[in-house]
């Protein structure tokens, strides 16, 4: 179905950002505009999601130039899921940041850049043109650079250098891969590339190009060996920014991998083995990294790396059931990681630190909040029936069926280490007595006005409820993931939908 509606969420964020420019110094007006813009964009994304589910594929040929000549916008089930997740997380983080950020940062144009970042993410998930994907990636990374560095202190600057360098390097590699791909096929449209790549006789060159894409996307999604920029950067910015980075930015790389390695390239045996090996190493390094850390945010940064391994593992198995697991895990991971970064921000407000050795008695002082955090932690580990459980079961089952026992062992070890660090966070930060008495000066949260408290807690409650909903309603989410996986395994439907659309 051809519709202009695909662009609506992207344009909504663009207009919100432009509108914010006119209220540069008026903090309250900025907050209101941002919340309204996010809410409308969320409704638009919900509508887009619903349209994709009922009509199948949505396409838009920009400027009326037929594919493969013009730039195509395309929404299939996978894109629709990602768009909906982005809208959900950006709404939650948008509300959260109205209360958690200090005024000087908002006056530096935080909301303005935030909406550009979300616009870039939505564009990347909806485009059907590989060079256009590169451009959206750049929109996202330049916004993320600014969010990461603005108003930063020394530690933030140090993390930012690694972040900026690695992301710029990834972009160059991605651009090189696009250049070579254009050289061997003469097209940039993802659907058109699929057919042309299959006709190329020099298979070695195709494999090398596909691996260049893997390296480019791999740096962005922090897989082994080029993951180190993530743990040294993600714990430095304020929690609201870390929440959107941790939830969505690495997943953008995974989305691009899923798209490129199902439609454009059909991975051969060598590539699949490589994915499995990389997945094992990512799982193990990420898991080991969490063990000796004391700051909750650092633990969380390494957990992101570790859990990216699950997604790469599913990509390496390359079966339909594995893709179901990957998509299910993606849905769970985006929500839980963003949520937990926001929770770490609230803990910082309650205790002035996120170092678990110096934290304590949170359960005694904030019992309701602690029980909610417990739910999030449980779904992070994957305790049934919460959201993390179902994709893990599927993935383990599929790995076992494929007789990839080393990978299975790595998946289980990573799961256990996650369990271990989560228990450590719980017992140190929530259960044990606080090592020093809690005074009024330390607990900033208690002195917040009621509206501020609501703005901090409501997004966390919302995302926790979504986690619970996914866990308890796993049947429907499974069906959704199954539909997306079916489409990924049958790229010809995607290709036909893009190439055969006539005005």
């Amino acid at each position: 179905m051809i519709t202009n509606f695909i662009l609506a969420p992207v344009l909504m964020h663009l207009f919100t950002a432009i509108l914010l420019l006119f209220f540069w110094q008026k903090v309250f007006v900025q907050k209101v505009i941002s919340i309204v813009g996010n809410s409308i964009a969320f409704i638009l994304c919900l509508r887009l999601f619903e349209m994709t589910l009922t009509n199948g594929y949505l396409t838009l040929q920009l400027g009326g130039w037929q594919a493969p000549f013009g730039i195509t916008f395309m929404a299939d089930t996978l894109s629709a899921i990602m768009v909906l997740l982005t809208a959900l997380v950006s709404l939650a983080v948008g509300i959260y940041s109205t209360s958690s950020l200090n005024i000087s940062r908002i006056k530096f144009g935080y909301f303005f850049i935030f909406h550009f970042l979300v616009m870039g993410l939505l564009g990347a998930f909806l485009t059907g043109d590989i060079f256009n994907l590169y451009v959206w990636f750049e929109v996202v990374i330049i916004s993320s650079f600014i969010l990461l560095t603005v108003g930063g202190k020394k530690m933030q600057m140090e993390g930012a250098i690694k972040y900026v360098t690695m992301n710029m390097l990834a972009s160059v590699i991605f651009l090189t891969a696009i250049g070579i791909l254009y050289g061997i096929t003469g097209t940039l449209n993802i659907a058109d590339l699929a057919g042309k790549v299959a006709q190329v006789e020099n298979k070695g060159l195709v494999t090398v190009t596909s691996l260049l894409f893997f390296v480019g996307f791999g740096i962005k999604s922090a897989v082994f060996p080029l993951y180190f920029w993530l743990p040294s950067a993600y714990h430095t910015p304020p929690s609201a920014i870390a929440a959107i980075f941790g939830g969505l930015l690495t997943k953008m790389g995974i989305y691009a991998m899923l798209r490129v390695f199902t439609v454009v390239f059909q991975p051969d045996h060598f590539t699949l083995t490589l994915f499995s090996v990389i997945a094992i190493l990512t799982l193990i390094t990420g898991a080991l990294g969490t063990i000796n850390k004391r700051s909750i945010r650092r633990i969380l940064s390494y957990l992101i790396v570790c859990h990216i391994g699950y997604l790469i593992a599913g990509l390496g198995l390359n079966t339909e059931l594995a893709f179901v697991a990957v998509i299910f895990y993606l849905i769970h991971d985006v929500i839980v990681k963003s949520n937990f970064f926001m929770i770490s921000g609230i803990i910082l407000k309650m205790r002035e630190t996120v170092d678990i050795t110096r934290l304590g008695s949170l359960l005694k002082d904030y019992p309701k909040f602690s029980f909610m955090v417990a739910l999030v932690l449980f779904s992070l580990i994957g305790i049934p029936p919460l959201s993390g459980f179902w994709p893990k079961v599927l993935l383990f089952q599929e790995t076992f069926k494929q007789e990839n026992y080393v990978l299975l062992a790595a998946l289980i070890v990573a799961s256990f280490v996650t369990l271990f660090v989560v228990i450590r966070i719980w017992s140190e930060a929530f259960w044990k007595e606080s090592p020093k008495p809690i005074t009024e000066e330390i607990d900033h949260f208690a002195s917040f006005p009621l509206s501020g408290k609501i703005a901090l807690i409501a997004p966390v409650i919302g995302l926790t409820a979504v986690s619970l909903f996914i866990g308890l309603n796993a049947n429907n989410v499974f069906k959704l993931a199954e539909k997306a996986a079916y489409e990924m395994k049958h790229p010809e439907i995607y290709i036909n939908n893009v190439l055969s659309t006539k005005e």
Binding site: T149, M157, A160, I161, V172, L175, I178, G179, S232
Partner: protein
């Protein structure tokens, strides 16, 4: 012409990666710039070089009669140049700020925070 560009691309990439491995922040920046330029020339080279045949076709012709220059790689390069311009401008400001806050150009001196677990 092609051979010359091939050598140039190779030189840009290798010099860029070599510069990125150095400890100085300025050299890191130069390395990134060289890599970006290398990628641009690679696209230009790989899109096929056709001399003096602008892709402008008379209205009465409905099909290509001879080989024309491909306009797409140039559009790609132009986009990439604009993006890398913005990124470089940002990177220069960032490195300047890091230099003023830490007072050092040495990248190895920036690893203090990784020791603090």
């Amino acid at each position: 012409m092609e051979l010359l560009l091939v050598i140039l691309v190779g030189a840009f990439y290798s010099a860029g990666i070599y510069m990125m491995f150095r400890r100085s922040m300025v050299k890191l920046l130069l390395g990134l710039l060289l890599l970006g330029n290398g990628a641009n020339i690679l696209i230009f080279l790989i899109g096929g070089i056709t001399k003096g045949k602008a892709p402008i076709i008379k209205p009465q012709n409905t099909e290509f009669l001879e080989v024309y220059a491909d306009p797409v790689p140039q559009a790609l390069i132009l986009t990439a140049i604009v993006i890398s311009f913005a990124l470089t401008a940002f990177a220069i400001v960032l490195l300047k700020r890091v230099y003023t806050t830490t007072g050092s150009d040495d990248l190895d001196s920036l690893n203090i925070q990784d020791l603090d677990i």
